[in-house]
Amino acid sequence: MTTSSSPTAPQVCWGLEQHMDEVAAAIGMDPVDLRRRTLIEEGAEGPTRQVFEKVGVRDTLERAVEMIGDGGELPDDEAIGVAVGWWPCMTAPSGAYVQMNGDGSATIVTGAQENGSGAVMAMPVFVGQELGIDPNDVSILYQDTDVAPWDMGSCGSQTTFNSGRAILAAAQEVRQQLLDAAAEQLEADRDDLELADGVARVKGSPDRSVAIADLVGEIGTVHGKGSGEVLDAPSGDTGGCVGRLGNETFLAPQLITQAAHVKVDRATGVVRVLRIAAAHDSGRILNRAGADGQVLGGVVMGVGLALSEGTMLDDQGRQRNPHLLDYKLLTCSDAPEIEVAWVEYDSVGPRGTKGVGEPPQVPTAGAIANAISKVIGRHVPRLPMTPERVWEASRGISA
């Protein structure tokens, strides 16, 4: 069974979060309360001695629980389950150019790939903020590494994090050039100047200004290049068992809590996910439409991973279900209602942003599993938790 994003995290979270619920049951504590008591916060130390900076995971727990509601008196074939997960930001080199055009508009040149998430399309916001111009006046030449520096492409939830960093660095070079020219023309100190509303002006004296377009005309060519500083993952101690298994520490971790309200048809094992509440700490959100879209799509992917998507192999390693009739994606009528909330704390990413694309799929299966266990009184030991497996588990048979 594979994932097409956040590889390994959904499965581990599914196992770990059911374990948390078992611990809660064993000590007679509500599973949400157990998480309240144990989730990391600023200053906490992880298993590889990573010390966490401000993380919003506790807020995500409260928001998800609040959004799903307590369900009131649920029928005995329905339950709510919760799971918490995380995913790192992947740091990678990237590079970009920003150039000013004669009319005061700007153009970004980047290798970053836009596949519909909205990550690249939001880059004009960075440049607009940095240069004091309208983001609608910033065009993008993207996804072309013949003309732009190397970029990792749309994977790893890192376009905003890495490509954004490079674009911001390039924009900052342009900013310096504009401020230098404006200081000379306005005979003012650089520190007294600001770029806003398409002009360079003296702070507090708006009549002492010059249009950015005019500055560009004066200078001739105004362009910048940037990569930004490629951040290292935080230091940690890899001596323990956890440390040797890949990402030993998490750079700018994205934290997620999801709560699932499910209905189980005990006689057949068919599970319907009625609602998912998803609360995410992905740092500052740059493009709300795009970010919400990533959660909505990722959650539905997560439900598929939980309940119906499974690659079945024969003893020769060939796939037995190589088509969409039997590799079952959710259809529109299977998809749950989904509510999304963002918990925004600053991060080390550009303008406090973090990645968004992969985390939404991480805790979904765990939340659904915890809900199913509450209904049938047992854990379903394998993913996907198909109706047959839920049925077998509910009868006390292991797969």
């Binding site: 074939d77 209905k263 048809d265 005990r266 006689a267 057949t268 068919v270 319907r272 119906s308 079945m312 037995r320 279900n321 088509h323 009739l325 039997d326 079952k328 959710l330 259809t331 529109c332 009528s333 299977d334 198909t386 109706p387 047959e388 049925w391 077998e392």
Partner: protein, 299 residues
Amino acid sequence: MTRSFVSAATVKDALSALSGGARPVAGGTDLVVGARQGKAPLPDAIVAIDRIPGLRAIDVSDGGLRLGTLVTHGDIMASEEIRTRYTALADASAIVGSHATRAQGTIGGNVMNASPAMDTGGPLLCFGATATLRSASGERSVELDELWTGPGSTSARSDELLVALDVPAPSAGTGSSYVRLEYRRQMEIAVVGATAVVTVDGDRIVDARVAITALTPTIRRVPAAESALAGMDGGEGAVEAAAAAAAAASTPISDVRGSAEYRRAMAAVMANRAITAALTRARGGSVPIPASPALHGAS
């Protein structure tokens, strides 16, 4: 062999093409899809029958129903007569494939494809439908359990065309239902299905027909289930006995959709739900169409 395509304007034209070795296509939802999944390549000579006038009618009379071979699942779902008096058939057509399958797929194509998992088969069988096959030499009526000879095969000759299905009118006091086990709510093939058509008189079941789907090489009725219900009051004991008989009559396979053991257990669950819904409807109660999703969660 060269490929050819003709669109028949009349049944006579179609029969002539069939005699020449062509194979018929109506909506293509089985024939063309089947060619993709390696089930069977497209025939070299194809005769389209979807333009023949008069084959898409639903004719209602006191004696029953005549469904033209080109009647679509969408037509069936929309027919007030079928929804009221042949409800199991509406239950079935309403959940075939997707909205596009239901718009293009025909009842004739469905029947002649002879899949052991087809949703409309159980209802048609339980209502006693007969297939009218026409050829150059005349017409004959075949009971469906004689028509279906195995998975994907029928007793029709290659020069015969299914032109209509005749469904006798059920007696007053009849209620029916088709239910299937589905993992998704749409775009599914029945993993297991069950049909029940029951007639009640007062508190007694005077007639019962029960069929199982996707559990045997061809869709079949279960006489043992039917006799467990006939003459009974339709209480829990009788229904459970009938459901157990349905499971016992099943010879399911294990495949990517489920193990034989799971399917056999689900045969009893689906039969129980189909019979219960049919009884509710026979007694004047209401179960939404389609019955399958409505009954999710029923114990």
